[in-house]
Amino acid sequence: MNELNGYFRRKQFSRLMLVLCGIATAVVILVLIFILGYTLVNGISYLSLDFITQPSKPVGEVGGGMRDDIYGTFILVGLASIIALPVGLMAGIFLAEFAGPKAASAIRFAADILAGVPSIIVGVFAYAILVRPMHTYSALSAGVALAIIMIPVVARTAEESLRLVPNSQREAALALGISRWRITLGVIVPGAVTGIVTGIMLAVARIAGETAPLIFTALGSAFGVQGLAEPIGALPLQIYRYALSPYSDWQQQAWAAAFLLIILVLGINISVRLVSSRRQK
């Protein structure tokens, strides 16, 4: 009898835990749906062709868009990629193919710490080493700040993908009398390219939404994109600015911009899915 009771209790407990897990999962999905839905409902009314093709207008004037900030975001992501891709990829190749086990684990540890540094601290750092000496906020300093965030992500994902290429490939190529660097570029990197591309796109999605480092570096610009050594606007920066402003017109624009940013990041994530599912075929 006792044994049967124990079984019954355990079965009840199992059912309870299963329901709790189900609720937790539902919360995860609901939060995403809520964020998407809320920004969509609030932002859709202002979203129009003008919004992405018109420059911003001063307070009080009707209309105006975020053309310059969208453009600015692309410039900043591009700048960061130009700096971070060569550094990150070469570091990843070094980690996976050339570093000794001790050096590799030390570098990997450092890269993981760098990836975990809060982005606002990266912003302050870029402010100290670039904005202050140059005596101006600039697109360049923002690009460097974003690149610092991007480098460890690119390096680590590149390393992981390269490590997935079986060692037998390296040995087979070595036995053909091919030099190490040609093996890396001709055999190993092509074998890992989908993983590397996935990592790059996830890193881009991550920095496209970064706001904190831009406050110290890009500042924002009311005069459009003027050059790399000048302040520049960006979507997340403008969302931050407009959402905190007292003008309802600007708040509306912030919602529309938020929706646009979500679509941008979501688009990158979906393309990553497509790329990596094609690899499995």
Binding site: P101, P166, S168, Q169, E171, A172, A173, L174, A175, L176, G177, I178, S179, R182, I183, G186, V187, P190, G191, V193
Partner: protein
């Protein structure tokens, strides 16, 4: 027949090549002297000396873990690539010690090709690209037109041309296991080595594919020196002219194949080939 041609004198030299005055003799493609190899602190090859006859098949047999794979990896300087791999001793090829400090291991591997247990086709390359890889990845630039002849010749030698000539641009990984192994042989031949080392080339293949590779080996020995490591004693008996029996990192017996399998000198060899252990 080859056994008789080479005869007893060769065997004595082979057993003790140090007393062989002329190392450049054309009889040997490779002369190994006092070869030792380690993985970290673990000694896996102990003091092996042997001569490997040119243009014939030499087989190495022995139980798993006896060091036969490590040994042939020492012959084209692949052992030192493994983590903790270390080698001492000398291996002479045309009178030149391939372990001499001024020798570039990459140039040795171009003269001594290798085929592995698992067909290691490059999955990102086509059939054509796989065969040409040893050439295209050592040149700055190469046109397909220039590689075409080499690719066809290598595939013909590897007895694969008829099966793949209409689909050279398909991925190499689309072939069957036996075809992939022959593709690897074609790839090794394409760089025109003098010696081909085969590390259990048939152990992952079905009997028919195995037969094809064995026929191929007999064909290859007309142009190349072949060294094969095998678990399969029947295979060693079928294809090789000379057989070495290895145990615990040592070369126990090395003699014409017929002698090893009919009148082994060492008790341990006899125990192994009669199936008493291993």
């Amino acid at each position: 027949m080859i056994n008789n041609m080479l005869g007893q004198t060769v065997r004595i030299e082979a057993a003790d090549p140090k007393h062989d005055g002329d190392k450049t003799t054309s009889k040997y493609a490779l002369t190994v002297e006092d070869l030792n190899a380690w993985y970290g602190n673990l000694m896996v090859i102990q003091n092996i000396s042997m001569g490997i006859g040119a243009q014939r098949i030499t087989a190495l047999i022995g139980p798993s873990g006896c060091g036969k794979s490590t040994f042939i990896r020492c012959l084209n300087r692949m052992h030192e690539v493994s983590e903790g791999g270390r080698v001492t001793g000398r291996v002479f090829m045309d009178g030149q010690d391939i372990y001499a400090p001024q020798v570039d291991p990459v140039s040795i591997r171009r003269r001594i090709g290798m085929v592995f247990q698992r067909a290691s086709v490059f999955p990102t390359m086509s059939i054509f690209g796989n065969v040409a890889s040893g050439i295209s990845l050592t040149r700055f630039w190469s046109r397909r037109r220039d590689l075409k002849d080499v690719v066809e010749r290598s595939l013909r030698k590897a007895a694969l041309w008829e099966e793949v000539k209409d689909k050279l641009d398909q991925p190499g990984a689309s072939l069957s296991g036996g075809q992939q192994q022959r593709l690897c042989i074609a790839r090794a031949i394409a760089i025109e080595p003098e010696i081909i080392l085969m590390d259990e080339p048939c152990s992952a293949l079905d009997p028919i594919s195995t037969l094809r590779i064995e026929e191929l080996m007999l064909e290859l020995k007309k142009d190349y020196t072949v060294v094969i490591v095998t678990h399969n004693m029947q295979q060693a008996a079928r294809v090789s002219a000379w057989t070495g029996f290895m145990l615990l990192g040592q070369l126990i017996e090395y003699a014409p194949t017929k002698e090893v399998f009919t009148v082994p000198k060492d008790k341990r060899t006899e125990d192994y080939i009669t199936g008493r252990f291993g």
